[in-house]
């Protein structure tokens, strides 16, 4: 025992106080005594005691009252109650109110020694555990959330201020800006951090699948449902559920979602039992939800339910001073993954990267750096190592519709044709995920035979 554990004995009977005092003193503990609850409270607030032995029956403030008062100040306080006689209701009351244990007077010395030793050991383990968790926090910081620009600093501030609350958050931003990373940052800085964050890409699933994915299903509830399965809402119990591409869910699912958000209760598909789950919800979209509301494609009530606290992630082209930092981060990441020497970036290549429009945002930049790391033969990344569609003018402007949507449609069509409609490859080149690409294909009604 490097440091003496501190014990406070609270008993109105002097002889009990004294005999316990001597017993603990000989056991090498630092011991203090108090003859009533008031003195005990004062000593506790001044003294940083590791353990309290409190007599249940005292005139004035009872041991139980003292327990409740101390627990209100310090929920981790370790208290053993001493009772004159053993009874189940007494024990239950004591334990319900947070006592570590209770003993009957007189106490068997062996029992007392073990009880106190175990209690103190448990407390030190708890402290050790908390320290380990604190260290863990440093490890799980989303280190791939990069950016020192004022826009990103503002976002970090927003994340910090909203994380500890249970407020619903809507993250908005173009594809590839890192909406999921922000959701994770909120989660790991929240009080729910030791429970899971469950991510659902609503745009990637058909309506029926999404329903089963979110709510789970009972065995035999539909063809292929061979086993009972927990839904994502159930899995997120205690934690956070992150619904990406929320703008793409059907009106029917919107009603279901609204119901769950309001009641935190739901049924599994094909099930009758009400399932309760305690989750925080974070959603994300790159679609103009307000317009979808106007068009009747997105329920207004759900929109307001989700749009409680909004974080808008700027596109990379609006925070270009983060590009060198991001490039450096991705080079470091890929050199580790590929077991290659960390490359530098030539001035021309960096100028190019800074000039480029980055429609696919950070994800596109990441892909560009990855490609350059793969194809580049030198120790320095040159302009020629950058992907074709980045290093050349993307495509010529023509006389027709030059709106952003038209340009996007044209560009996606071009990449799809170049990759022979290999969706994975095309999505990689575009710097978006497959689900987003499917949505774009559907939105612009792109077809393979159109080419």
């Amino acid at each position: 025992m490097n440091k003496k554990s501190r014990i406070l004995i609270v008993d109105d009977e002097k002889i009990v106080r004294e005999s316990l005092y001597h017993w603990f003193d000989e056991e090498n503990y630092y011991v203090e005594t108090a003859e009533d609850g008031e003195i005990a409270l004062k000593k506790y607030s001044e003294g940083e005691f590791d353990l309290l032995l409190v007599d249940m029956k005292m005139p004035g403030m009872s041991g139980l009252d003292l327990l409740i008062k101390i627990k209100a100040i310090d929920k981790d306080a370790l208290i053993i109650l001493i009772t004159a006689y053993s009874s189940v209701p007494t024990a239950i009351t004591a334990l319900k109110n947070g006592a570590y244990d209770y003993v009957t007077k007189p106490v068997d010395p062996d029992e007392l020694a073990h009880l106190v030793k175990n209690a103190l050991q448990q407390k030190s383990l708890k402290i050790e555990n908390a320290l380990l968790k604190e260290n863990l926090d440093e490890v799980i910081k989303p280190d791939n959330l990069i950016g020192e620009s004022f826009q990103m600093k503002k976002i970090y501030e927003l994340v910090h201020s909203v994380a500890k609350t249970d407020t619903t958050v809507l993250i908005r931003g173009e594809s590839g800006t890192g909406k999921e990373l922000i959701a994770k940052a909120i989660h790991i800085n929240s009080n729910r951090k030791y429970s899971p964050i469950i991510t659902v890409n609503c745009g990637a699933l058909a309506e029926s699948l999404l329903e089963s994915e979110l709510f789970g299903h009972e065995k035999g509830s539909f063809t292929g449902a061979q086993f009972k399965r927990k839904g994502k809402f159930e899995m997120a119990d205690g934690g956070t559920i992150f619904l990406d591409e929320i703008g793409s869910i059907s009106l029917r699912m919107q009603i279901e979602l609204l119901r769950v958000l309001e009641s935190k209760q739901f049924n599994r598909v094909g099930g009758n039992d009400l399932i309760k789950s305690d989750f925080r919800i974070i959603t994300a979209t790159n679609e103009p939800l307000e317009e979808l509301v106007k068009e009747g494609k997105f329920r207004e009530d759900l929109y307001y339910r989700l749009n409680v606290f909004t974080i808008v992630i700027p596109p990379l082209r609006e925070r270009k001073n983060d590009i060198p930092l991001l490039v450096d981060f991705f080079i470091g990441k890929f050199s580790t993954v590929m077991n290659k020497k960390k490359k530098k970036v030539s001035k021309e290549a960096m100028d190019f990267l800074l000039e480029y429009d980055w429609r696919g945002n950070v994800r596109e930049l990441e892909n560009a750096v990855e490609r350059a790391m793969v194809v580049g033969k030198k120790d320095t990344i040159e302009v020629d190592d950058l992907p074709f569609h980045v290093s050349k003018n993307i495509f010529e402007l023509d006389e027709g519709d030059n709106s952003l949507a038209a340009m996007e449609k044209k560009y996606i069509q071009k990449v799809l044709n170049e990759t022979s409609w290999n969706i994975s490859k095309a999505a990689q080149v575009l710097g978006i995920d497959r689900a987003t690409l499917y949505n774009k294909i559907s939105k612009y009604d792109l077809r393979k035979d159109e080419y």
Binding site: D11, I15, E26, E27, P106, P109, D110, L112, A113
Partner: protein, 176 residues
């Protein structure tokens, strides 16, 4: 400083002689047998059927305060302090009085089988232990040391029968 072994309601003469012999081997000081006339019946708890150790000590302190040395009381009766079901002994920390009960050191107490050798060994350990408190020692973490706490008879048997080198330094005239 001499040691005064003082029997109180203690009738095992053989054990007493053996204890004196053992202490004489271990200490450079003189070991006295002290005959003290004191009635401890006032300190008997009818409810608990045990004797209140702290009160016995207080009474003896009054009567033997003039003695220059350590006064170790030995008794056959079962001892208690109010908070605990029983105690093997009690001592003044940094004082000169202590008491050891052999009631629960008898093997008969646990198994019904008498074992004089074991009783002597246990008595030596507890007597040395309480004496250690008189010399200012608190409980030692070393199981080989007699100053290790013993809250049950198993722990009395497990721990060593002498002081560890660190604790021995505090005991005046200890030879082992």
């Amino acid at each position: 400083m001499d040691i005064y072994l003082t029997p109180l309601k203690f009738y095992n003469q053989l054990l007493l002689q053996n204890l004196v012999a053992e202490f004489s081997k271990r200490f450079s000081c003189k070991i006295h047998l002290n005959d003290l006339k004191v009635n401890i019946d006032d300190f008997f708890s009818i409810e608990r059927k045990q004797y209140y150790s702290t009160q016995i000590l207080a009474e003896v302190i009054n009567l033997t305060d003039n003695i220059e040395g350590k006064v170790l009381l030995l008794t056959d009766v079962d001892l208690f302090v109010p908070a605990l079901t029983f105690i093997f002994g009690e001592a003044q920390l940094n004082g000169k009085h202590s008491i050891v009960s052999v009631c629960r050191l008898h093997e008969e107490f646990y198994s019904g089988i008498s074992n004089d050798k074991l009783l002597l060994e246990r008595t030596i350990k507890e007597a040395l232990h309480e004496l250690g408190h008189n010399y200012g020692l608190r409980h030692c973490l070393d199981w080989d040391c007699v100053m290790h706490s013993s809250n049950g008879i198993e722990e009395v048997d497990i721990k060593g029968n002498g002081y560890c080198p660190a604790c021995a330094k505090s005991i005046e005239g200890y030879l082992w």
